[in-house]
Every structure is written in C-alpha cells, then in structure tokens.
Symmetry: D3
Subunit: 136 residues, 6 copies
Amino acid sequence: MKVAICRKENFNAAHRLHNPDWSDEKNRTVFGKCNNPNYHGHNYELIVKVTGQPDAETGFVYDASQLKELIRENITKKFDHKNLNLDTDEFKKLNPTAENIAMVIWHILRSKIDPKLDLKIILYETERNFVEFPAN
Amino acid sequence: MKVAICRKENFNAAHRLHNPDWSDEKNRTVFGKCNNPNYHGHNYELIVKVTGQPDAETGFVYDASQLKELIRENITKKFDHKNLNLDTDEFKKLNPTAENIAMVIWHILRSKIDPKLDLKIILYETERNFVEFPAN
Amino acid sequence: MKVAICRKENFNAAHRLHNPDWSDEKNRTVFGKCNNPNYHGHNYELIVKVTGQPDAETGFVYDASQLKELIRENITKKFDHKNLNLDTDEFKKLNPTAENIAMVIWHILRSKIDPKLDLKIILYETERNFVEFPAN
Amino acid sequence: MKVAICRKENFNAAHRLHNPDWSDEKNRTVFGKCNNPNYHGHNYELIVKVTGQPDAETGFVYDASQLKELIRENITKKFDHKNLNLDTDEFKKLNPTAENIAMVIWHILRSKIDPKLDLKIILYETERNFVEFPAN
Amino acid sequence: MKVAICRKENFNAAHRLHNPDWSDEKNRTVFGKCNNPNYHGHNYELIVKVTGQPDAETGFVYDASQLKELIRENITKKFDHKNLNLDTDEFKKLNPTAENIAMVIWHILRSKIDPKLDLKIILYETERNFVEFPAN
Amino acid sequence: MKVAICRKENFNAAHRLHNPDWSDEKNRTVFGKCNNPNYHGHNYELIVKVTGQPDAETGFVYDASQLKELIRENITKKFDHKNLNLDTDEFKKLNPTAENIAMVIWHILRSKIDPKLDLKIILYETERNFVEFPAN
C-alpha cells in the first residue's frame, strides 16, 4: 500500500478563454464572460500529489520542503502574476482552461519527479470550480 | 488519461432521521438528536465531479457554467430551503441520511449527463461529516 | 489596551421566517423561500468574543476551555438539532432571523459573564450571510 | 446597540498596479510583479457590512437577499470577469490597489443605502492580503 | 457501487523529525527546521474515510456519531496535547512524519472497524502539507 | 476615514502553559492538558492589521509585500518551528497563552511601523480559539 504526500501552492494570473479558429461571436457564445478581450483573472490554488513508498530512513515519500521548491521553481515562477495567454509559451496556442492548465502543469512536473512515484494535479480556478488530472 | 471537472454548489434544508418501521424509542436510540421530531437543518455543500476527455475545440471536459446550471435546475431548485422529509418526493419513504441524499443526487444527475462521462457526488452535511458516491 | 478572546462553536437547526401579524401572501413576498411552511435549516457558526484585561497569573482574559463549556451548556444544548420556531421558548414569538438569534444569544451569555468583560456575538447563518451584535 | 449584517460576494478580475507619472523602472521597483504590463488577476472576495437597528416587523437590519442583489447589480456586474484598468471607468486613472478598490466600492454602495445605516467594505485580494474601509 | 462516509477530527501535538542512526549534522541537513531539538508543533486535521454499503435499515455506512467516538477514544485521546516523540509509544522509535502518523492511525483504527469496510486516512499537518494512506 | 490593510502569515510552534509560582497540581487544574510537561503544539495563524491613510502616489496604506517581509523577518523567523518556552527569550518567564503571544508580537512590530499608523494583531491558536490585541 502506498502513501500520498500533497503540497498546496498558489499563483495569481490573468487569462482569457478564446479559440482563434472560431468567429468572435461563437467565442462569446461558448465562453461567455470568460472571453472578455481584455482578460480577467484568478487566484489559482494548486495541489501537487505525489504517491509512493515512504523512504525507510526519512519516513518521507517526498520531502515537503523539496516539493515546495520544485513547484515554486517550475510552476509559480512561470505563471504567478502573469497573463497566461500573452506571457507564457505554454498557452500561446493552447486555450487556458483549468483542464488544460492542470495538464500543462502535470507534464512540466512529471519530468522532474522519479517515475516510480505517481503524480496528480488538483487545480482550483475558484473556490467553486476545480479540476483533477489524471482522474481515474 | 482523463480529467475531472468539479463544481461546488450549496443548499440549505431541514431534515429528520427516522425509520417508520421502528418504535420511537429505537429511533431515538439509533439516530439520537438527529431524530428530533420537529426536524433540524444543515447547509449542505455539494460537489459534482464529472470525469472524461477534454473537448479538443473548447478545452473543457464539461463547461463549468453549464454544470452550475444543471445542478441549480435539477438539485438546488428541488432541495434548497425545503424540508427533505415533507417537501420532496425522494425522501418521503427514504431516510435522508447524507449517504442516501448523495445517492439520490447521483441518480438525478446521471440521466442528464453523457454516459461517456463518469459522475461522482461529494456531499458535506457539516464541515466535519461528508460522504462520497460512488466511492472506489 | 484590552485583549479579546474568541471561541467558535456550531449548532445545526431548522427555522422558518414568518410574521404572524401578516397575511401568508405578505410573508411569502417579504421572506421568500425562507418562509417555507415546513422549515429549512442551517449549520450555524457562532463566535463568542470576550474582551478585557488578561489575568496576571494565568495570562488568560477568559479560559478558552471554560468559554467552550459556557457556550455548550447555555447555547448549543438549547439550539443544536432543534427547530428554533417550535422547540425553543426564545423564538416562539420572535422571528428567528440571524439578527434576532445573535441578540438572543448575547442576552443569554451576558448574564453569565463578569460585567467587567465586554461581549460580542458573531453568527454565520451561511458562509455568505453573517451578523454581529453589538456592532459599533 | 446596533446589529451588523454582512454579505459575502465574489468577482474575478485582471489588474495591474501602475503610476503613469513614474518611469517604468520606478513602477517596477515599487510595484514589483504587480506591475506586469500584461496584467495578472485575482478572485476578489467582497464582504459588505451594513449596521443599524433591526426592523421591528421583519427582524432584519437589511434583507440579505436584497443586499445580495444590490451588490450583484452595482458591483459584480461592473467588475466581474473584467480588466479593472481597461474595462472600467473607475480605474482608468486610479491605481487599482485593494485599498482603492474597497474605497470605490464603498462610494458606489453608500449612495444606494439609507444614510441611517453604517457601511463598511472588507475586500480580500488573496486569502493572505485584505483591506477594510472605513477602518476605525 | 459503494458509499464513503468521512469524519474530520483534530489534535494538537508537538513533534521533532530525527533519525537516531544519523549524525546531528545529517539530521539538520535533511530535516531542516523540523529537526529543532526542543520540538515544534502542529494542529493536525484528521479525516477518517470508511467505505462500504449503506445499511438498509439506517441508511448509514457507518454512524457518524460512532465514528466520532471511535476516533476520539483511540486517536485523539492518545495524541492530543502530547509530544509525539516523548509521550507516545508509537513514535518512540518511529520518525513522526505525516506519512508515518497517517499509517500508525490507519493501523490503530483498522482493527476496530469491520473488515468488510475499506479505511483511508487523510492527515493535514498544515493547511499546505497533507498525506493520504492508503493512496491508490 | 482610514483604510486598514491586513496580512496573514503562519508559524508552527510548541508550547506549554505553566505558572512556575504554582504547584504542579494547581498548574494541572488550571491549565489542564495545555500543561503537559513535554509540550504540545499549534499551527498559529497571524493576521497583522495596519490602519491609516493610503499614500497618494502608490494607493497603498502599507505595501503588502513589505508587510510580509516585516512579519517574516521579525516574527516568523523568531517563532516558527520553535519551542516558545525553551527557544525564545520572550516566553522564558511569560506564559505563552494566545493573549500573551499576541501582545508580544504587537510590541515587536509596533516599534517597526510608523506611529501614524495603527496596529492590531489577530492570532489564531486553533481554528476555534483566537485573540485580538488591542481590542476596543
């Protein structure tokens, strides 16, 4: 049986939902107020969950301080106080829905964490809207 | 790998735990203060979790605004500011425990959501008591 | 300069807003869904704030364990898992709005606490609606 | 002694802190990452607190449903899913710090609420940064 | 399909992360400020999740009041207001990381709960660091 | 009219309530489980509230980033992951009740903040017990 260790971090960003292959009218219809041309923003709450066997000597699956630093170095520094559509390479062509942001974060962190450990991302866009990836 | 999108909504309702096949004394013993004849109440917090593949054009598994409307139309309108035992058909003969309320909500919403998508209900009766259905 | 010590407790109750001097129609118009004849309910969160000088020997303004017991004995026992309109003397003739519940709690506790200490009640009816008494 | 009734609402907006009378360098030094030219954003949590005497017939200082509607009509509709700097008249020339946003909201609502009632605004920019106006 | 019932309880404890097989220097390097010789402490939030079929007569998977008592009798009484390293048998030789505390709690409760029911522990060491056992 | 800006920070510490002028028995009677000789601990949540006039050029009463740094430099560094009774000068002879900790923090920060600005400390020992200093 495995143990999961979770770390919560935050970033504050602007974004706009928009599909460039669609007309402005279709974008407004589908994305509603999230399509506002001048962007809007969120306090994103990010939970990174790492699952595996605790190390016999430390009792840690993953040192929470190191997990904090890994997230800050690779995710927070990139997305915090940024405009996701304009300031990041990841969302230049990818619509920054909560689902897509969670998958992008997963791919960034997956390559930095031992493959023996499982990785899941939970991302709160607001207190009432949140996503999980991967979800089983 | 799938993505889950979750939406949190609320409803405030009165209820009473009671098994009509039992004596009043047995009801009091088993359900304690939750058996109070004149009812008591809760601020129920409901999380609806829908799991599937994000749509390639929108980046959504399920549009959070539509999920909000689906919940409000089918669940909140039915249960909010109601007496679950007296004002709803669902709990006329079914004991309104958190477990049963979660299963009732799941059955109502299951028929409204594409069968390709998985559905899970999380229901907080209080900050300290909550249930999940289905739980794996 | 004084110090305030606050203690949070909870109770779950059913209630109905209704003015017996009004017609049913006026009650429905003014109180809306809160006038539902069969009641609805809430998880009330109660904060009791006591302000004064810390005792030189204990460093306490008021022992938090004693404040917890005072609230449980005088407030929780009376209101928890009850129908405020039917099961309590206080709201037999008084409309159980959050404002009135807070004032009733204040009067009950005021007589139990040393007059040298100031007393304030904060009562959350929901996460989004709450009251304070007295408010300066 | 008066009673206060509080209502919490939310809006999600983009903003940028910037003083046009300063050089870009001074703006960066003073406002740091909050000066990002392409904006960033927040989930603002707004608490509106109205203080006065409860009405003898209703038991309300201010009907919470009406307060909700007042906030949604006058504040949420104006600021939600907007870029405060670009999409609103209020912050075309006023730096949208939390302090200034709270004062702007206070002035908008003050004219809509009976002068016999006191009004206070509490605004959370993040879970860790929040402001009150007026503060005594 | 099964239902899960969850109960949240709390305990406040002191602890120190330390591996007696290591030098003081290695302990300081690996455990950082958590290795402080005079201990530090946390408000632990514990969620116990029990999964199974609801009973046909009660509608309960597990009576939440009985789950509360089970946790208080077996876990809270043992760990609350204690120094985990000095005052408990469980952590005399086992490093009290969140992972290890969750596994210890799971083993204590597992023997008290019907084997037909699944058991999971979620333990918050802080609002930002938490663990799950078992994690699938 | 003034504006208040609040910043929330955290520290995790061990402590023990004890009056050395009393017998062990009296200490146990008055302080109960908080008198445990081997200490227990808490996740303290600290809110620092600074009240004054916003600066005309910045729109800040106090720059929230500078307030964060001020708290971390003067409070968190001193108390986080420490035993308040053994590791700090402030509580060598002063009982570390929440009331006393709040007053100590206020005195430390008062000397670092412009006297034109008002200062208040709110300190959560647990989610249910918290104090304010000064309280009016």
